[in-house]
């Protein structure tokens, strides 16, 4: 049990998959199966936004095995098809694309499909509502995805799953994984920067050396032309509240003068390793508002296409380049 002890010290944990079929379910079930009974645990997963509802039926969310006493949150329609006995504790007022979220406590263990809130606000609200049930560990099943505004990075700690489903080529698989691992180690911004940008909803903001916060006249990082018109002489920090695209990052690299790019969390980057490295080399910094501690990387060498990579080699290559715990759960 390489990292269970570290998990027990946390109040919240995300299981994040780099790709579907990288063993997220196994990792989650592995952890849930090894948590001591008196610990009050809650489980939910980040749901999918409206228009992609068909995606859920196409790639059904994994079924998770929950034990007696665990609390979970899932969409009403999945609650109806549960394979366990549970007590309804609450029903959300908001209607998400999959219906309302049902919160329940397990009476007799079994499996259930979990698809929880899909918005960042909804996820936070649900997590908060658990305090009255005395939950000590909140687990979120998430994914690196553009499909929802909710980010798994609101947790204290994280487990990343990767595997052959991400790439058949072991070198590509390793470098892509390591890139994400490095992203998780991006530093958290200083306190005054955090409080300065904390309530900035949407858009792009700057902070001067004197701490003054201003909003840029740009709707999103998708409209890069306005960057050229901005004066970066007194910009110490530039906060992008949404996603950072490659085009934006490259443009910014050209105009920023040694300041720091700030994003909400590491999941907001949709850029290549090269673009990222170039940006850093140009003398700019990158920081995050919310930092999550990466506890372990779990590897699944089996690809859904049928082939199996060499597990030892894969684990070895990753261990060479990072201090984070790496393991193949099937081998433990």
């Amino acid at each position: 049990m390489p990292f269970i002890d570290r998990i027990l010290k946390c109040k919240s944990l995300s299981i994040v998959g780099m790709e579907k079929n990288t063993g997220k379910t196994e990792a989650l079930n592995y952890i849930l199966g090894r948590l001591p009974s008196p610990l009050k645990v809650s489980v939910t997963s980040i749901g999918i936004d409206g228009e992609r509802v068909d995606q859920v039926t196409e790639t059904a969310k994994p079924e998770i095995y929950l034990k007696k006493g665990m609390i979970f949150g899932t969409a009403e329609r999945f609650y109806r098809s549960r394979m366990l006995v549970s007590e309804v504790l609450d029903v959300g007022f908001e209607n998400t694309s999959m219906g309302r979220i049902v919160t329940a406590e397990v009476v007799c263990g079994g499996k259930v499909l979990i698809s929880g809130p899909s918005s960042a606000a909804g996820l936070e609200r649900w997590n908060k509502s658990l305090d009255r049930y005395g939950v000590s560990l909140k687990i979120i099943d998430g994914a690196l995805s553009r499909l929802s505004s909710a980010s798994p990075a609101i947790s204290e700690a994280m487990i990343l799953t990767t595997g052959a489903a991400l790439s058949a080529n072991i070198d590509t698989l390793v470098s892509k994984t390591l890139f994400t691992v490095n992203l998780t180690s991006l530093p958290k911004v200083p306190d005054h920067v955090y409080s300065g940008f904390r309530n900035c909803e949407g858009g792009i903001w700057t902070m001067s050396a004197g701490g003054q916060v201003r909003m840029l006249e740009m709707p999103s990082s998708f409209s890069v032309d306005a960057l050229e018109k901005t004066d970066f002489t007194d910009v110490e920090y530039l906060y992008v509240s949404g996603a950072v695209t490659e085009r934006f990052l490259n443009k910014l690299r050209g105009v920023m003068k040694g300041g720091m790019l700030v994003v909400r969390d590491f999941t907001r980057f949709f850029v290549s390793r090269q673009a990222f490295a170039s940006f850093m080399r140009a003398g700019n910094g990158i920081g995050v508002m919310n930092r999550t501690e990466l506890l372990a990387v779990c590897v699944n060498p089996v690809s859904p296409a049928g082939f199996v990579l060499d597990s030892d080699r894969l684990v070895g290559m990753l261990r060479e380049k990072t201090d984070v715990t790496v393991c193949d759960l099937r081998r433990i």
Partner: protein
């Protein structure tokens, strides 16, 4: 309806959104006895001491109301509900009992008892806000679940689970059968709780906005003293200005309101319409004092109704709107009809004739018709009000009854006060002299 009613609805802070929606789905009250009874109850809620904590506790509980009307009617028709729905019904029943207890000394507490429902859904009596098909409902179920818990994942587990489901379904069916007998009680409970939420919110609104309790008129008169429009007032206050309340009274007759531009004529008649609606919906009335004559309907023709997509010109749109009012007045009277500057979109000669004719047409309809105009209408059998107008460099918005039919000629003075192009205004002045 563009008279400020939206503002009154928006500033009504009910604890649950369902209560407000439920209220707005109701029709206006048209029966004097019903209206008087409603205001008596509202008065009792207003008399409750806000500092006592009862109101606060009740409001907190009421925030948990869910719109389960659909669920209740399905229960009544014999459908077997699922655990989530049963949870919602149990929540309603518990909420009902808790509010009923909090209001036990309140003179108008008409919440039914949901003890029977709770006896079914809360066998242990611990009033927990949670639900599932409890073991205590069936020994067979308890045994089946015990067996299920002893099994690990696998085929046998799945089979045992299927068996549990079968027993649960049969228990659920019986529960719903017993519950459906109580669906009237559940329905009444839900409606009453929503009503209580609205009463409390209305009482709060009366205090916040400084509203008054109206009297139902027994002499077909509507009399307002110190009438104001809350939305307009809030806008003015924000700008650091003062709202001038007005006095007005009328019976079942036609009333014309004349006066200077920007004198508040439109706001005045809009507010009369607003207050009529509020009265027949049981709100506090924005006035110092109010005696109101009940009407069957409130009709408005205000503002620019030109609608490009209909292909109608302003004139056509306006005429059609007034035509509709005339038809409804004939058919559903007595109504309150409020018409802002009828026939304003055509030449003054025909316009004046149209307005005079409108007064004659509706004068004996038995309805109250208020209209504003800039035309000199000679009709002597129509009550006339005029805005006191522009004097000493300031606008006096108060209304006074006037015998003269001559409209005031203050447009140029007002234009000057707005610093409109002086050359243009001077030429106009010369033309008039």
């Amino acid at each position: 309806m563009p008279c400020g009613i939206r503002y009154m609805f928006d500033t009504l802070d009910t604890s649950s959104t369902f209560s407000k929606r439920f209220m707005s789905e109701k029709r206006i009250m048209t029966d004097a006895v019903e209206i008087e009874a409603y205001y008596r109850i509202l008065g009792a809620y207003l008399a409750l001491d806000p500092a006592s904590g009862v109101l606060h506790d009740v409001s907190v509980k009421l925030s948990g109301i869910r719109d389960i009307r659909n669920t209740i009617s399905r229960l009544a028709s014999g459908t077997v509900l699922d655990d989530v729905e049963l949870f919602e019904i149990k929540s309603l029943a518990i909420l009902n009992e808790e509010v009923r207890l909090l209001l036990k000394d309140f003179p108008y507490n008409s919440l039914p008892s949901s003890e029977t429902v709770l006896a079914i859904l809360d066998p242990s009596g611990n009033r927990a806000l949670s639900f599932y098909i409890y073991d205590s409902y069936s020994e067979e179920l308890r045994a089946a679940r015990k067996r299920l818990s002893s099994l690990d994942e696998g085929e046998e587990h799945d089979r045992a689970f299927a068996e549990v489901l079968l027993i649960e379904d049969s228990v659920r069916k019986n529960l719903c059968k017993s519950l459906s007998v109580n669906s009237d009680v559940l329905s009444k409970s839900l409606h009453e709780l929503a009503d209580i939420d609205v009463f409390i919110a209305k009482a709060r609104q009366i205090r916040t906005l400084g509203l008054c309790f109206p009297r139902v008129s027994d002499r077909c008169m509507t009399v307002y003293k110190g009438m104001f429009n809350p939305k307009v007032r809030s806008v003015l206050v924000e700008k650091g200005k003062v709202y001038v309340p007005v006095d007005v009274k009328f019976g079942r007759e036609t009333v014309s309101v004349i006066g200077a531009n920007m004198g508040g004529k439109t706001v005045a008649i809009k507010t009369v319409a607003l207050n009529q609606i509020l009265f027949q919906y049981g709100f506090g009335i924005p006035a110092f004092e109010a005696e109101v004559d009940i009407k069957n309907d409130i009709l408005l023709s205000i503002g620019d109704e030109q609608n490009d997509s209909d292909g109608l010109s302003s004139f056509a749109a306006e005429m059609k709107s007034i035509d509709l009012i005339i038809k409804k007045t004939d058919k559903y009277g007595p109504v309150l009809a409020v018409i802002d500057e009828p026939a304003r979109t055509t030449n003054p000669v025909e316009g004046t004739a149209l307005v005079e004719a409108l007064v004659t047409r509706l004068r004996d309809s038995g309805s109250s018709v208020l209209l504003t105009t800039h035309y000199n209408i000679k009709n002597d059998r129509c009550r006339r009000y005029r805005v006191k107008g522009y004097r000493d460099g300031r606008m006096d918005y108060r209304l006074e009854e006037s015998t003269s039919s001559d409209v005031p000629m203050e447009a140029l003075d007002i234009a000057k006060s707005l610093s409109i192009d002086t050359e243009w205004i001077n030429i106009a002045g010369l033309l008039l002299n």
